[in-house]
């Protein structure tokens, strides 16, 4: 019914942090869109502005120091940046939910896990009786592979992987239209990560939820994302389908990322690191923000901000030289 339609459309978003040392330009002129049922991978290294972007969508930024300078975040045809906090709270619980890297940021240590899921369920459907909520909460736990008996345990009685699965159950309890996951498996061991990813893939299909998956791991992106945005120093430098990025990645930073990771299927002998360091966000370079680290940089890259070029339908690259 909603297939092919746009659920989320971010236009020209700029977010700064006003700090003692200066203005941190965390997100600059970021535009992005996500269709119903799609999973978008937001990829970038520490400090690229990924968390700031999704916190802005949810309006959970701490303002100050954060300041939304400009832009629109159109979600189901309405601009989230124009909503008051009361309306936003409703949207957060009902339509958009979030999974953080550290499960304890979303779990209450003094409530049992079933109480916490019941709370979310009842917040969304006030008509639900306590008993009905409990039954539903236990079903959600089973769905994420945790036995119903464990519902009366407290978070600290669970391992890291199980806590993250409880969070997924909570995040899905309100049947959101958009699920945002910020490095949900970074703190987990790989076999546990595999369990959680498997679960997320299954739920994505069953619930048809749209998803934004933040990660620095191109392996995870390959596994579950339809669209990919590569972020560098507050900007999206390349955006496209998984095919575009994996078969025809064009931005020098995208190429650099692929060249510097060891791959267990490759017989590579030498890694090719990206030279230098990510820039200081208080003191960003002029022109293309990647130019000091780019081996293809020309004169124009040092002075002019590259335009966002559509190289092929749906494949955008922000680079002078492609």
């Amino acid at each position: 019914m909603n297939e092919g339609k746009i659920l989320l459309d971010i236009r020209d978003l700029t977010v700064h942090y006003i700090t003692y040392d200066g203005t941190v330009r965390a997100v600059e002129n970021l535009s992005l869109s996500l269709k119903y049922g799609e999973t978008l991978g937001l990829v970038g290294e520490t400090g690229a502005g990924k968390t700031t972007t999704v916190k802005t969508i949810l309006r959970i930024l701490q303002e100050p120091p954060a300041k939304i300078i400009k832009g629109e975040i159109i979600f189901e045809n309405e601009d989230l940046l124009k909503k008051d906090m009361k309306k936003m709270r409703k949207i957060r619980g009902k339509q958009i939910s979030m999974i953080f890297q550290d499960p304890m940021t979303s779990l209450n240590p003094v409530l049992t896990v079933q109480e916490q899921i019941m709370e979310v369920l009842r917040l969304h459907n006030r008509k639900l009786s306590k008993k009905e909520a409990l039954i539903e909460a236990l079903e959600m736990l089973e769905m994420v592979g945790i036995q119903a008996e464990r519902g009366s345990d407290y978070p600290h009685q669970f391992s890291g992987g199980m806590k993250q699965r409880v969070i997924i159950a909570m995040a899905l309890a309100c049947n959101p239209k958009l699920l945002i996951a910020d490095e949900p498996t970074t703190a987990l061991d790989v076999t546990i990560q595999a369990q959680v990813l498997e679960l997320m893939k299954r739920l994505k299909n069953e619930y048809d939820t749209s998803m934004i998956m933040i990660t620095h791991d191109l392996g995870i992106v390959a596994e579950i994302c339809d669209k990919i945005a590569i972020m560098y120093a507050g900007e999206i430098v390349e955006y496209g389908t998984r095919k575009h990025i994996f078969h025809n990645g064009l931005h020098p930073y995208t190429k650099g990322l692929f060249a510097c990771i060891p791959n267990i299927l490759d017989e590579e002998t030498k890694l090719i690191p990206i030279k230098g360091l990510a820039p200081d966000p208080i003191n960003l370079p002029l022109g293309c923000k990647f130019h000091p680290r780019c081996s293809y940089a020309c004169e124009i890259c040092k002075t002019e901000i590259p335009p966002n070029k559509e190289i092929e339908p749906g494949h955008f690259v922000r680079c002078h030289i492609v």
Binding site: E45, I220, P262, I264
Partner: protein
């Protein structure tokens, strides 16, 4: 053989806890030859760091021997251990926690030289510190900065420079790149490889990241709950993992490519507690091959093919 630099025999470390005896390392054997890299891989809590700390003798072994150039480290007295520390050094995941925040980069790198009283004139001392900064790729102008002013990659270079100060022959690298972004990780991995070549270093490289381990190692030992379950030459292991745990572990790694399809083995449940472990194979409760014998008898690490050591009762029964 003369090219063996380190031999670990039946190494055990049990920690006393309120709930009982925690078997952190439980009868581990391995050999590392000179100038090679042995990768130690496994999920968190399997005992990797404990092995590293035992080799440095930061903690005392419960049982077993650690022979470095033929001498048992566990039996050395204080003075002998001091000499030994020049040869064996460690680099940690987050050098931040091992660096003194009030000390400049220059002083931090020079510390081992001062402690061991290597130089008695200031000039040679300073020359050596700057030389170390050059070796690990730290600009000399950073000498007077403090750890908090540096990014993770540079902090790790400081950690490596400190470890290199006394010209060691053996380094334990405990998750040295795990806290770094991928572009910086590659810089540090390349540096480690260059240093190894230049100075003929031997590494015990500890990591939970299989892609990193595969890239850097000549030999690999896979650990599960205090025991080595498989040990092999690196390429062979990745071509054909033999232990059911290694198979699951390798299949769990997400591959940064959209053209390959891996048949993933999803393990049920979590790693059981290492406290008062039950007899038998530690992996049996999650193993797809497990039979009765696995719950009774602990499988020994044995050579099932030339160069392939596996601790599994049923390894020959797979097809």
């Amino acid at each position: 053989m003369s090219d063996i630099i380190l031999e670990v025999k039946n190494l055990k470390k049990y920690f006393k806890t309120k709930k009982g005896l925690l078997h952190a390392v439980d009868g581990v054997n391995f050999i590392i030859s000179k100038s090679e890299t042995m990768g130690l891989v496994g999920e968190s809590g399997c005992g990797k760091s404990t092995i590293g700390r035992l080799i440095l003798r930061l903690i005392e072994a419960t049982e077993g021997e650690i022979l470095f150039e033929g001498k048992d480290i566990c039996k050395l007295d204080k003075k002998e251990m001091r000499e030994m520390r020049k040869k064996i050094q460690i680099v940690f995941q987050d050098p931040y926690s091992s660096l003194d925040g009030r000390r400049s980069i220059f002083d931090s790198i020079g510390e081992p030289l001062r402690v061991q009283k290597v130089f008695n004139d200031k000039q040679s001392y300073e020359k050596r510190v700057y030389e170390l900064m050059d070796t690990v790729g730290l600009a000399r102008r950073l000498a007077n900065t403090y750890p908090h002013e540096l990014d993770g990659g540079r902090r790790q270079r400081v950690g490596i420079a400190r470890a290199m100060a006394l010209n060691p022959s053996f380094l334990v690298l405990d998750e040295p790149v795990s806290a770094l972004d991928v572009s910086i990780q590659a810089q540090i991995l390349n540096l480690m490889e260059e240093l190894q070549k230049e100075f003929g270093l031997t590494y015990l490289f500890i990591s939970h990241d299989l892609s990193v381990i595969k890239h850097i190692s000549n030999h690999i030992a896979v650990m599960y709950l205090g025991k080595i379950v498989e040990k092999s030459e690196c390429k062979e292991l990745f071509k054909e993992p033999l232990h059911p745990y290694t198979q699951a572990l390798l299949s769990a790694v997400p591959i940064p490519s959209i053209d390959v399809k891996i048949d993933r083995i999803i393990l049920e449940g979590d790693v059981p507690s290492p406290i008062n472990p039950r007899p038998g194979c530690r992996f049996a409760p999650r193993c797809r091959l497990a039979g009765d014998i696995c719950r009774q008898e602990t499988p020994e690490l044995r050579e099932v093919r030339p160069g392939r050591m596996v601790a599994c009762h049923f390894v020959e029964n797979q097809n």
